[in-house]
Each structure stands twice: as C-alpha cells, then as structure tokens.
C-alpha cells in the first residue's frame, strides 16, 4: 500500500483542480445568463438547471469516488447506498404530481399580483414594480 501514496497524492490534487474547474463552470453558466435566452428551442431556465445540475452531479461523483474512497471499497457500498438513493429520489418523485405539477390553477393573492405585474409589464416596459428597488 505505502508505495502508492505518492501516486495518490498527485491524483488527489488533480481531483481538487477538477472540482475547482467545475465550480468555475457553474459560475460561467450563471454569468452568461441562460435564463433569458432560448437556445435550441429549450426553455432557458430548464437548460440552465440541466447544465448546472449535471456539473453538480459530476462534482458529487468526484468527491464520492475519490475523496470518500468509494472506488476502493468492496461491494457492500452498493448494498448500503442504493436503497437510500432510491428512497431519496422516490420521495421527490412521489410529491411532484401534487405540488410540482398542477392540473388546476392555484388561487392565491400572489398569483393575482403576478398576473397583474405581467400585464403591466407587457403594456409598459417602464416601472415594473418588482424592479423598482434601488440598493
């Protein structure tokens, strides 16, 4: 084992650099402001979400596999981690139809105001109430 340490030392630093590059990439996606754009017919917010979450998953895998040494562990790792991951994703999927996707229109004062604000914004570009705040 001990002769691998120097080798591992180099590898850890490259993982660290990869993680930094990924973080930089996320910030670049934020800076170029994909939300307002409509690239390849995809909603900007969805595209942004897909990109930054893909980067986040890559980073998470780097940390799990190398920093947490899962690459070098036995098969017990699958037994231990797969149920929790299935349950974790299952919960999100289970509550999505009711809360995330409505077949009905929500009735809330916020929604009325949002519609009003959108109408005013459509009529006049000037003085959108949401944007009037000056720091």
């Amino acid at each position: 084992m001990s002769d691998q340490h120097d080798h591992a030392y180099v590898k850890y630093s490259s993982i660290f650099y990869a993680l930094c590059i990924c973080t930089g990439l996320s910030i670049v996606f934020d800076v170029i402001d994909l939300k307002k754009q409509n690239i390849i017919g995809m909603n900007g917010v969805v595209l942004l979400a897909v990109l930054v979450l893909a980067v986040a998953c890559a980073k998470a895998l780097f940390v799990l596999i190398y920093f947490m040494h899962l690459k070098f562990e036995g098969r017990w790792k699958y037994v231990l981690l797969s149920p929790t991951i299935v349950l974790a994703m299952g919960l999100t999927i289970a509550i999505t139809p009711d809360i995330g996707i409505h077949y009905y229109t929500n009735e809330a004062p916020q929604i009325d105001y949002l519609e009003q604000a959108r109408e005013t914004a459509a009529k006049t570009d000037a003085l959108n109430p949401e944007k009037s705040h000056v720091e």
Partner: protein, 326 residues
C-alpha cells in the same frame, strides 16, 4: 465473516445513508415547491443572494475537503505533524465558510427577508410598512415618557393594525390604551410652560411623526395610495434629518411573490447545512486538542470525520446551484 472495514466506518457510512435521506427530503421538497410556484423569486436584486458568496463558499469547502484527504494521508504514513497541520487548515476554512454565511444571513436580516416577514403583494407591503411605522411611533412615545408598559401583544393579523387608527375595535382598543394615555401625558407636557425647549422639540417631532403616520394610514385604509407613492412618502420622511434615525426600522416596500416560502426554504436548507459544519468543526477540535498525543489509533477516527466532512461538502455542491444559480 463481517465486512472488511472497521465497525466505526460502517457506522459512519450507515449514518451518512440516513443523512442522504435527511437532506434529499428537504432538497426534493424545495425542487417540487419551486416547480409548483410560478414567479418564484430568482432575481438577485430581490433575493439578495450573491453568486460570488456562494461560489467562494463552494471553493472553501472543496479546498477543505482536499485538506482532509491530505490529513488522512498524513495519518496513514504516521506523519502526525502533517495530519495536524491540514486538520488545522480545515478548521480554519470551516470558520471562513461560516463567516461568509453569516455575512449573507446578516444581509437577509437587514432587508427583512425572513420567513413570515415578507409582503407578497403591494397591498401587503403597504400594510407592513404601516405596522412598522406604528411601532416606531408607539416606541417613541414609550421612550419619551420612559414608562414601563404591560407586555404588548403581537397583532393577530395585519388588518388589525391598519384599523387601529380608528380605535373602535374592542380588541385593539384594549391593547392600545396605555400608549394612548402616554400620548395624552406627552401632549400635556408639550402644552406646559415649564418644559425645557429641547424636550419640547423632541415632543413636537414625535407628534409630527404621529400625525404623518395617521395621515398615511388613513390613505392606506382608503386604498387611495399606491405602493410607489407610499415608498416615495416614506423615503421623504427618511431623508428628513428630524426623522431619519426614528424611521430606520421601516423597510423599503418590496413585495416578493413566494418570498416567505423562499425564505423558509433558504434558511432551512442552509441552516441545517451550517449546523453540520459546526458539528464537523467540533469533531476536528477533538483531534486537534490531542496535540502531540495524536497517534496511530486515531487513524480510523480521522478517516470517519473525513467521510462526514466530505458529505457536508457534497450537500453544499448541490445547494449552491439549486439556491444560487437556478
């Protein structure tokens, strides 16, 4: 035959498995709530979320994770000085993380972006400003008369406070009477001839502000004032050197659609994460206080707290894009 790993490490991994479910419940709820709430606040000018702060914190945690790995390497080759050095650096970076986090939290408090404090429509914003201004005026009366009052009860809902101007409601009348009495005492003091000039000036300022509040509140009740007009009126009062210090607690009117839900989720997720950071710091301190006594038998411990710390990093890796970028 058991697993080829120490029991403590198996324990840590089982604990981390429960932690994955703990955080994914919150993160999943956030994603779903957000998808179901059209107009969720995502403009940094409104939410005061700074990408640079989140990005810097991501970098800090990644660097600290890297240092933990190096510390473990030190433990493995029995270079305890190296292990101590990197654990120290990790602890330091954890402090930096919490420092940036508290800077961000302070900004949230400054702009009153707190669960249950955020108006979501212009009407609610006007109600809120009137409630704040009423508190300012009442507080001033209390300070001026320097008298002890019975505990003030929280207004049950915003409508109650806006209606207070009329003071016809039994419920509000009961609560408001003491301040009203103080007001009359102060009025008498102002009218009295032996009151010093400086005191008179203070009292006059208080009554002027009170009158301004009542006028604005009447317009708010009639709904004859728009949010922009109200903001302008409050801004004029804040600019006035007489009232500037008094008006400080009154916030700029800024309705945020789904702001309360946003603030709840933000504080829940980042708060629980920060709690994990604090616990991780305590675990590092336990090793560091060993000083030169640090020995081979601590290797498993360092490996386990390392796993925990990487997990804390992992959670932030997901929180950063979800909260700050999308």
């Amino acid at each position: 035959m058991g697993l080829p790993i120490p029991h403590s490490k198996l324990g840590m991994w089982l604990f981390l498995a429960t932690e994955i479910m703990f955080f994914s419940a919150f993160i999943g709820a956030y994603i779903v709530l957000r998808a179901g709430s059209p107009g969720w606040p995502d403009d940094p000018e409104i939410t005061h979320l700074r990408v640079w702060a989140g990005g810097l914190n991501t970098f800090v945690l990644i660097l600290s994770s890297y240092f933990v790995v190096l510390a473990l390497e030190g433990m493995k080759v029995e270079n305890f000085a190296k292990a101590r050095r990197y654990l120290c650096l990790t602890l330091l970076l954890a402090c930096v993380f919490l420092g940036i986090k508290s800077y961000e939290y302070a900004g949230k408090f400054q702009y009153d972006i707190l669960p249950g404090h955020i108006p979501e429509t212009p009407r609610m914003a006007i109600d809120k400003s009137m409630r704040e201004m009423k508190q300012v005026v009442d507080q001033r009366a209390i300070t001026l008369s320097a008298a002890k009052l019975p505990e003030k009860t929280e207004p049950v809902n915003p409508e109650d406070t806006v209606e207070v101007a009329g003071v016809t409601d039994e419920k509000t009348e009961e609560v408001e009477t003491p301040v009203e009495e103080l007001r009359q005492q102060l009025q008498a003091e102002l009218a009295a001839e032996d009151t010093p000039a400086a005191r008179k000036k203070e009292l006059q300022t208080y009554f002027d502000l009170g009158d301004k509040y009542r006028k604005l509140n009447d317009r708010a009740l009639e709904e004859s004032i728009s949010m922009q007009e109200m903001n302008k009126e409050l801004e004029t009062l804040k600019q006035d050197p007489q009232y500037a210090s008094l008006m400080a607690p009154v916030h700029f009117l800024q309705p945020i659609i789904y702001g309360n839900l946003f603030a709840s989720v933000y504080f829940l997720l980042t708060g629980f994460h920060a709690l994990h950071v604090v616990i991780g710091m305590l675990l590092f301190i336990i090793v560091l206080i060993q000083g030169r006594r640090l020995s081979k038998k601590w290797k498993d411990y360092v490996e386990n707290i390392g796993l925990y710390w990487h997990f804390v990093d992992l959670v932030w890796i997901f929180l950063f894009p979800l909260i700050y970028i999308i």
